[in-house]
Amino acid sequence: MTAIGTPQGDGATQRVPLEFGDAILELLNGFIIELRAAGLPVSLTENLDALEAVKHVPIGDRESFKYALGATLVKHYNHWKAFETVFEVYFSLRGRQYAIGEDDEFGDLDDDELDEAQLGDQQGGGGAGENLSPEELAEMLFQSLLRGDAQMMKGVARQAVRRFAGMEPGRPVGGTYYLYRTLRNLDLDGVLERLLQQAQDTQGEFSDFDQRLWRDEYQQRIDQLQKEIEAEIRRRLVADRGVEAMAKTLRKPLPEDVDFMHASREEMASLRKAIYPLTRKLAARLQRKRRHGRRGPLDFRRTVRASLSYGGVPVEPKFRNPRPHKPEIFVVADISGSVAAFARFTLHLVYAISGQFSKVRSFVFIDGLDEVTSYFEGVEDINEAVHRVNTEADVVWVDGHSDYGHAFGVFWQKYGSDIGPRTSIMILGDARNNYHAAQSWIVKEMQDKARHVYWLNPEPRSYWDTGDSIVGEYSQHCDGTFEVRNLRQLEGFVENLA
């Protein structure tokens, strides 16, 4: 088992056991600072709990140690992944089997294991992993996946990284670059097809149903291999640049801080999951705000009437019942390429709490514009509605490049008369107009007629009005222009709106 307790290089190993606690304290403090830097809210109580908890687990057992820290420090499932990354990086060099100095021995060991695991016809290849030809490595990869042999996969991952990633000490490149290089050389999609073929050959008759099951099985093993490769790259990077530097570059944003515009597919999935509890939370909070809303203005008539029973002294002031202001919302969203994800989340959120608004209507545009309100009506699954919006709405006029001017023109002409004094209009988009006519007078007309016009821009503020972005021209006619780049900002905006 691994010893985790000693930070490197401060001679903690020579200390007497009495001061072992100090070392742990120091180590955990560093870890918690790192967690906070990654955005996890760790309170002082939780910090103390963690210290207490590690006393009760065997210090040599990495998994228990991790669970003890996780249970006390991480209080949200979405944060678990960030925690795991920090943990892996922070404690990566602190275990003996993870030490890079002994890598060569261990490398050989792996190779030996691999050789044993190999099929008979390849015994000649033997020796150190470096001597393996690319074909042999590919074969090993295939075999390890076919058998689902975790140990062998680990070996293959190490070999693959050593061979293909081309890691050079001191080179300022992120881990994803190396990951990409390694994966490109391994051709995992091809391997998957080969595995399926193999399964088909051995099984004989093979229905589509079987194929689906096998595909899922192999896909899972490949995912596992990919994780091994990532871990290996991380380990080498940490060895090269040191824990603190790496912790910084590998820091993964929490789902609510992920930038809409640059989210990876995986991050998108976690965003989608995060949005549901968020809407519930928001709805509950808004409802509470309503319930505890202050009383309405003084009702003079009723106050005077009540004063009669006290001889004309207004002892008991009466108030009108509060009239919660329920805005009518028009969402006008750009759904062209880059900002589509942002528009989707906003539509999600607005529809999820539509009980808080008297009416929600939504319009989407690229260079043409279409109303999509009906797609959301009576639909249980918002994803489905969004899918219909993306496939069925008639939003392309000429070439499918954003043209805000024309889209606003259509909006004003078709729906302009529906805008009333209770309407709030939210325009979502980056205002990158491809140098078309801005037609910003329409936004001004809207502002005159509607209660509010807000512009939500998913781009960082520093990019505004650069290139073909003309958000500045529009925003002079808006009641507010907001940078909304992640769920947290979106949540804040919607809460203020209702």
Binding site: P41, S43, T45, E46, D49, E52, A53, H56, V57, E63, S64, Y67, A68, G70, A71, T72, V74, K75, H76, Y77, W80, S207, D208, F209, Q211, R212, L213, R215, D216, E217, Q219, Q220, A269, P277, R280, K281, A284, R288, E380, D381, N383
Partner: protein
């Protein structure tokens, strides 16, 4: 202070014997909860055995399980304690004739005798080592959550008329949540956090084998595989562990020994509870190139 569990391994074995297959994480957190004397907040999708965990732990320990089912509108009178108003009235009336003074009477009617204990107070005042389960805590309003805070951190209940009642033993507390809303920071801070997800392939297979003894190993393996594939499809409600078990039972009753496409799509309604989900799965499972997203 004596602890309930000597080490993680024995806890895991114990749970296994009462038919709850835990993993390192689950057993480890329960063990820590005992050592640190802190409540455990168990979160995760519906039907992954969160409530069952508390039940099983109480079974392992051979202790009483006190359960508080949360719902919207739960209040102090239902969760903590209530004065037995009717009995108090009777007491006053029966006393009316002989001239007791008021002080004595008021001391008398606000005493233990007239107190109706509700689950939380019951768990605190119990003399035997109980397990307290606060189920679906995410259903109560945020304000009501505050009721729990005193109990969870100090294991005591303050009753204005009586003073503070402290726990004579520290109960092992489990809170479960389906994550339908965010719990307050204050609550989370007081608890250890355990996220129970759908089990992985091996564990699910073990669970099926334990719960449905008549099943063959081969079929159990297939069941677990199919369920895993279904969970990868984006659904309104993914099949839970209990639904997997139901499905396995059905297959055994039907005398199936190998799952074919036809049997699978005929019995999908046991795994899935929404018609749209059933249609989606029936369509996707049989199209081989439905690459898992």
């Amino acid at each position: 202070m004596s602890f309930r569990f000597s080490d993680v391994a024995s806890l895991k074995d114990g749970l296994c014997q009462v038919g709850y297959l835990s993993d390192e994480g689950i057993a480890g957190v329960v063990y820590l909860a005992d050592r640190l004397q802190k409540p455990v907040l168990v979160e995760g999708p519906a039907g992954t055995g969160k409530t069952q965990l508390a039940k099983s732990v109480s079974e392992v320990l051979g202790t009483r399980l006190i359960r508080l089912q949360c719902y919207e509108g739960l209040d102090e009178a239902k969760a903590l304690y209530e004065w037995n108003y009717k009995k108090q009235l009777l007491r006053i009336q029966s006393d009316g004739s002989d001239g007791h003074d008021w002080d004595g009477l008021s001391d008398d009617i606000f005493s233990d005798e007239f107190l109706l204990t509700r689950p939380l107070l019951e768990a605190i005042s119990a003399t035997d080592p109980v397990v307290l389960l606060i189920d679906e805590v995410d259903r109560v309003e945020v304000e009501t959550e505050a009721l729990l805070l005193e109990i969870l951190s100090d294991y005591q209940v303050s009753i204005p008329e009586l003073g503070t009642i402290e726990a004579s033993q520290i109960p092992l507390v489990f809170l479960t949540s389906n994550n339908t809303r965010e719990l307050s920071e204050a609550l989370k801070r007081r608890c250890l956090y355990l996220h129970v997800d759908y089990p992985d392939l091996e564990r699910e297979k073990e669970i099926v084998l334990t719960k449905v003894p008549e099943i063959t190993e081969n079929l159990a393996d297939q069941v677990a595989r199919v369920v895993r594939s279904i969970r990868q499809i984006e659904l309104k409600k993914a099949p839970s562990v209990s639904e997997t078990i139901d499905w396995a039972r059905t297959l055994v009753l039907l005398g199936v020994d190998k799952i074919e496409e036809q049997t699978a799509s005929d019995t999908l309604n046991i795994l899935l509870k929404y018609q749209s989900d059933i249609n989606k799965v029936a369509k996707e499972l049989v199209t081989a190139d439905g690459v898992s997203a």
